[in-house]
Amino acid sequence: MRMTCLNMIHTLAQRDPRPVFIGSDLSPGLLGAMQKEMPKRYYMEGITEANVIGMAAGMAMDGFMPYVNTIATFITRRCYEQVAVDLCLHNLPVRLIGNGGGLVYAPLGPTHLAIEDIAIMRVLPNMAVVAVCDAEEMVRLMDRTLDWPGPLYIRLAKGGDPVVSDARNGFEIGKAIPMRRAKRGGVSLMATGVMTTNCLAAADILERDGIDASVLHVHTVKPLDEGAVLEQAADARLVVTVEEGVAVGGFGSAVTDLLVERLARSMPPMLRLALPDAFPTKYGVQNDQFQVFGLTPEQIAASVRSALT
């Protein structure tokens, strides 16, 4: 997913004069073909995240569309004020691409775990927040970024993630995709990023148990596709949000806010599967962490069964 995303920057730059790549201190030779072909639009600026964001803002003010890439924690937490003021206050078309969203960097510990990236990006006015589920969907997202007028945060997954998206569903920023449908009164699973993949597997498990579950892929957490979320929730006997990040302020929080405001007393029961308000203490790999936090397909299915009883 990461290389697909980055290679797309080169592709977009070949067909549009606006894209510029700005990295911090990434792999040697990264996007070497782009650097060779268009050296003036390729910048590797070192470990200066605050500066890189301001620099991207300055370029965007004069007509460019910078794609900025570094590790997700550093592109969100380290330079948060620059993101808020330089990008969001000016509403500039800068794309922030965060490597290792969620629990991807499990072995590297809490300094590298971007578990609150979605929450803290989501609260900034003008910022859009997107987490696609696989590399093929990433291509479709990147195609759409040329038309998005404001700042955009793109959370990257581990890479090599199973492809579950379908080109026939198309892709619009801000438009959720129903990936699996259920009969009226079924369970509504809603997820973002690769949790959609786990939810699809969980829905298969639930089906074997006689529980009908839909899956709504909410790749864009902000702006939230309110229509799609409300439509799914209205028919559901249980709404379940699943995310690879903290519950506080995250995707499930966004869905809950919407349902509370719009459905009031007709709110369906809700289950939010997310990380607790704590720094993770384990290492291992991403899948180990999914297990720690109850986010494997089997655990999601078990949590749903338990909530229904």
Binding site: T48, N51, A57, G58, M59, D62, G63, Q82, V85, L89
Partner: protein, 276 residues
């Protein structure tokens, strides 16, 4: 140049006095403002707008314009006065400073005020934005120049030095960093709060061609700015030795005049009297 840079300051000429009186007009309108931080900036901005910058007040977004970012956004009254003087905004807009529906807030906002390039106020942002603009000009083959005016307290921020690294690396001769070195930040003297010395050497070490000047000497400022870039392959830095509160005798070099929140008629009268 001596550390304070104040000994040889000539008396302010009528234009400098008139511009300061307009700052007082803004303070009166808002009943508040960063007095000391605006007064130290007057000659720097005056020379930039009178003699250096290329701009069109009736076409603020003219692509070929030079860009000026007031990174020390709290000194905005000095900028608003110059924008009014040049016709970007009507003069009486100054009377609305900080009022509910005004375009002139306590820090400048780019989307609201013609001629303001970037919203500033959070310190340490402007130089990076200026680096991006200077690179954009280079990529687009424009000969626009970029000027970023910073405060001395502001350059405590690490992000300024990150930006300086980038500017030096790219050899941005179209970028000039200007420091309003009035030696006093909000909490007290800069040499006590966070000493910047040797400041000229710092900028040179970051690959800037750097010079210092008396920041209230209009002729000296003109001379130094007319020699930009100091080096055809490097960004320039100008350390302007200034006096906090310059022109208001009782406020000069007094940290308590960095900002005043309750500027009443008596205080306004005293400031006007000081500028007679």
């Amino acid at each position: 140049m001596d550390g304070q840079g104040t000994d040889r300051v000539a008396a302010l000429d009528q234009r400098s006095i008139d511009l300061r009186r307009l700052i007082v007009r803004g303070l009166e309108g808002g009943g508040r403002g960063h007095i000391g931080s605006s007064m130290s900036l007057v000659e720097i901005l005056r020379v930039l707008y009178d003699d250096v910058l290329r701009f069109r007040p009736d076409e603020p977004k003219w692509p070929q314009r030079d860009r000026m970012i007031l990174s020390k956004g709290h000194g905005c009254l000095a900028l608003y006065v110059m924008l009014a003087d040049k016709g970007f905004i009507p003069l009486d807009t100054l009377d609305t400073f900080c009022r509910r529906d005004s375009i002139l807030g306590g820090h400048p906002e780019a989307g609201k005020i013609p001629g303001v390039e970037a919203s500033t106020g959070a310190l340490g942002h402007g130089l990076s934005v200026g680096v991006g603009m200077a690179l954009a000009a280079r990529m687009q083959g424009r000969d626009s120049r970029v000027f970023v005016v910073m405060g001395d307290g502001e350059i405590n921020e690490g992000s300024v030095w990150e930006a300086a690294l980038s500017a030096g690396k790219h050899g941005l001769s179209n970028l000039t960093a200007i420091v309003d070195y009035n030696k006093i930040q909000s909490a007290g003297p800069t040499r006590e709060i966070q000493d910047l010395e040797p400041l000229l050497d710092k900028w040179r070490a970051f690959n800037f061609a750097a010079e210092e000047v008396n920041g209230h000497d209009v002729a000296a400022l003109r001379d130094v700015m007319n020699r930009l870039p100091f080096d055809p392959g490097r960004p320039s830095a100008i350390i302007c030795h200034t006096v906090k509160g310059k022109g208001i005798g009782f406020a000069e070099n007094d940290a308590s005049w960095h900002h005043k929140a309750k500027v009443g008629p008596d205080m306004v009268a005293q400031m006007y009297a000081a500028l007679e």
